[in-house]
């Protein structure tokens, strides 16, 4: 395995960095954060689409980049360094991957090009209230009515659901089994409660009450749980890369603070206890990086247990590192580390969000032990 990025991947990250550096500094971002209409910067999203990032995982024939785990890692880590609010995770990772693996030919040819062009966003509803981190549809059901399906149910914390034109929804079938439907977010009976996540990105809770869709909305997955579990693993992998980017920034901000902040007549970085804490933060980031590499290298593995073992193992490990790093970086800063005006706070928020989205540490530790050889 090669642990460095290819030149192409590095160039990709560089061009992203430049886009965010020029239009997305801390104050500009604050303005996007305050915009309750979009929860992100539509202009930046357009830039991402134009530069081929939105279709990162889409096949080349659909205008995509045909990327995999390594590209996801490079791109999401970089976006995270800039605290990007754009719905990349929901649309470009979860949505596109689902369309590619479980979309019908018609869905692929009709929807994918719009998505790649940045004209229509996607979201995938993974969970239901009270079911914690179980992706199997339990309370969302369908009834067949002529050629149509009628959906009822509730979905919880649908990341990117606020800006999504289409939302993929797993539901129990009337007789037996389950399926995924690609539902127009504006359809009758779809009601969205939008809100910000802790890091500022948008999400919704979703209520489906007698939502009628045609048979063409049904995706080509045999079983909702299996297909959604794979998407969840892609989401985890992208989220881990975001965590890595945020860790690096928290580390660097703290490192700089230790060298500039003075107490008792000298930089606080001269105190041995803080030196050792900083050394541990440095070390934790590197070990976490190794585990993110592992997840990224296995997420496309067609063997589901192998994929899950790497992804869940990495998540269980990295969540721990993320918590330790976030908490120690705040502690080394003291009071300033908890103020909204200071960037560290926002990286800490992202690091914390990563610990509870798409399965917490206990969940993934359990999944990991269940795949244990």
């Amino acid at each position: 395995m090669d642990f460095t990025f290819t030149e192409e991947q590095s160039l990709m990250a560089d061009s992203l960095r430049k886009a965010y550096e020029s239009d997305y500094d801390f104050d500009k971002r604050r303005a996007f954060l305050d915009d309750t209409a979009t929860f992100h910067s539509p202009a930046m999203w357009q830039t991402l689409a134009e530069n081929g990032f939105v279709g990162l995982l889409a096949p080349e024939e659909a205008g995509g980049f045909d990327g995999g785990g390594a590209e996801i890692m490079a791109v999401t880590a970089e976006m995270s360094r800039h605290l990007a609010l754009e719905p990349f995770l929901a649309t470009s990772v979860m949505g596109v991957r689902l369309l590619v693996t479980a979309g019908t030919d018609a869905q692929k040819s009709n929807i994918l090009p719009q998505v790649v062009a940045g004209e229509a966003n996607l979201a995938v509803a993974l969970y239901e209230p009270g079911q914690r981190y179980d992706v199997a549809p339990q309370t969302t059901t369908t009834k067949v009515d002529g050629d149509d399906f009628v959906l009822n149910g509730t979905k919880a914390v649908v990341v990117g659901g606020d800006s999504a034109r289409w939302i993929a929804i797993g539901a129990k079938l009337e007789d037996v089994g389950s399926a995924i439907f690609l539902v127009d977010a504006g359809a009758d009976g779809v009601s969205k409660k939008p809100y910000r996540l802790v890091d500022g990105r948008g999400a919704v809770d979703l209520e489906l009450s007698g939502v009628r869709v045609g048979a063409d909305a049904r995706m080509a997955a045999d079983d909702a749980e299996t297909a959604l579990a794979e998407i969840e693993d892609w989401a985890v992998t992208a989220s881990l890369a975001e965590t890595l980017g945020a860790m690096e920034m928290a580390r660097d901000l703290t490192h700089e603070y230790l060298q500039t902040r003075e107490q008792f007549g000298r930089p606080i970085g001269k105190f041995q206890v803080l030196q050792h804490n900083m050394a541990d933060v440095f070390s934790d980031v590197e070990f976490a990086r190794s585990m993110v590499f592992w997840a990224a290298s296995e997420v496309a593995n067609p063997d589901a247990p192998t994929r899950r073992r790497a992804v869940s193992g990495a998540k269980a490990f990295v969540d721990n590192a993320a918590r330790n790093i976030a908490e120690r970086c705040v502690q080394m800063h003291g009071g300033v580390g908890v103020t909204d005006e200071y960037a560290l706070t926002h990286y800490v928020k992202r690091l914390t969000l990563g610990q509870i989205l798409f399965g917490d540490r206990d969940e993934h530790l359990l999944r990991y032990t269940n795949t244990n050889a």
């Binding site: 009270g130 914690r132 981190y133 502690q331 009071g335 909204d340 509870i356």
Partner: protein
């Protein structure tokens, strides 16, 4: 059978519990169950109820208008108030500047300030920290220059909790620049409505406005507002901080918050099993509960020592460190218990003024701000690093 307390203490606890049952306002208590924020009105109302009962200043002697309770009784009162879902009272007046005025203030200051601290008519804030002096408090730079019968104050304080709702600030200022840092500091009482005082909010990561920056631009403070002697302020601050250490373990509050966590764990499920039965989660709960138990007993040992010997020594530093770890542990497990519904961030929904729809269970919105809020527990009042310095220097002589 509870062996920690003797029968007299048990009886006092029953008395307090009966009082709470009767007098604790139901609407205020309801906020504790979901982690809604208490507003100033809630605090004033509860303050008034305890004032009527004579328990508002439990540690103050009776001649000063207090209840004259012993440290263990104070602890019991504290525990029961938290268990009843009541807010912590404003410590700045009752536990901080009040005792300083009692010990070091003159008669005029006592009669001017103490009654209104007791009645809750006046709220206080603490002007200690400055941008350049956090852990290194003695390096503070805010200056007060004597000009006839007043001081002219210039400088800046920060992390000033509740400065925006306070009537008065007790403030450490530098009055002598030519001596050792600690020897040039004075203790001033500043009217927050004075011209030249400007309060700017600091929003913290929990989305709350509780702390502030306070700027002084040629603020005139009457010389009679100096407590004790000029340049002796560091001594009064040390006295104040040693008082602050009592109750620093936060046992009562943590017990109440732990009970809330346990209730959430009985509702939330993983794979059809409640978290309170989930092997990993319940092991974490048990670990934390035992740490809280160890804190409680250790705290009680210190209280007995305090009751017998007077003020607590530097050993209270070990209570601060573990007390903050317990507080943080409870908040962390609460966030974990709530799971993905801790991800939506709506701190505004914790305020009375909010009219929106809740997202997820009613206890969900509190979880994440609470986790962030508790990060401060190991920073303020002397960070845990400073506490460990104190232990190693003053207790261990290293």
């Amino acid at each position: 059978m509870e062996l920690l307390y003797d029968s007299e203490q048990q009886a006092f606890r029953e008395e307090v519990r009966a009082f709470m049952k009767e007098m604790a306002p139901v609407d205020i208590a309801a906020k504790a169950h979901t982690g809604q924020r208490y507003d100033k009105e809630d605090m004033k109302r509860w303050h008034g109820i305890l004032y009527e009962q004579g328990w508002v200043a439990p540690k103050w002697s009776k001649e000063n208008g207090g209840a004259g309770l012993d440290p263990i009784q104070v602890h019991i009162l504290d525990e029961e108030a938290f268990a009843a879902g009541m807010p912590r009272l404003q410590a700045f007046g009752l536990s901080m500047v009040g005792p300083v005025i009692i010990h070091f203030g003159d008669d005029e200051q006592k009669s001017r300030y103490l009654p209104k601290i007791l009645s809750g008519e006046e709220f206080w804030c603490q002007g200690f920290s400055e941008p350049g002096s956090g852990s290194d408090l003695a390096s503070l730079k805010t200056r007060a220059e004597r000009d006839g019968d007043k001081y002219i104050v210039n400088g800046q304080k920060t992390w000033t909790t509740q400065a925006h709702i306070a009537d008065w600030m007790f403030c450490l200022v530098r009055t002598d620049w030519d001596v050792k840092q600690q020897e040039g500091i004075s203790f001033l009482l500043i009217d927050m409505t004075s011209p030249g005082v400007e309060v700017r909010p600091i929003i913290t990561m929990d989305g709350e406005h509780a702390v502030n920056e306070v700027f002084f631009d040629n603020v005139e403070v009457p010389a009679e507002n100096l407590v004790g002697e000029e340049n002796k302020g560091w001594d009064y601050a040390k006295f104040l901080l040693s008082n602050e250490r009592t109750g620093i373990a936060g046992v009562g509050q943590s017990k109440a918050e732990f009970a809330r966590l346990k209730a959430i764990a009985k509702k939330e499920k993983r794979r059809g099993v409640t978290l309170s039965e989930d092997p990993l989660f319940r092991a974490k709960l048990a670990d934390l509960e035992l740490k809280l138990r160890a804190l409680e007993i250790t705290n009680l040992r210190m209280l007995i020592e305090e009751k017998e010997k007077g003020a607590p020594g530097p050993i209270s530093s070990i209570l601060k460190v573990v007390g903050s770890e317990v507080q943080q542990g409870i908040a962390t497990l609460t966030m974990e218990a709530v799971g993905s519904y801790a991800a939506p961030f709506l701190p505004e929904s914790l305020e009375d003024s909010w009219n929106g729809e809740p997202i997820g269970p009613d206890y969900a919105a509190h979880a994440m701000p609470y986790y962030f809020f508790r990060r401060k527990a190991s920073i303020y009042g002397g960070s845990n690093e400073i506490q460990r310095n104190i232990i190693s220097k003053h207790l261990l002589g290293l």
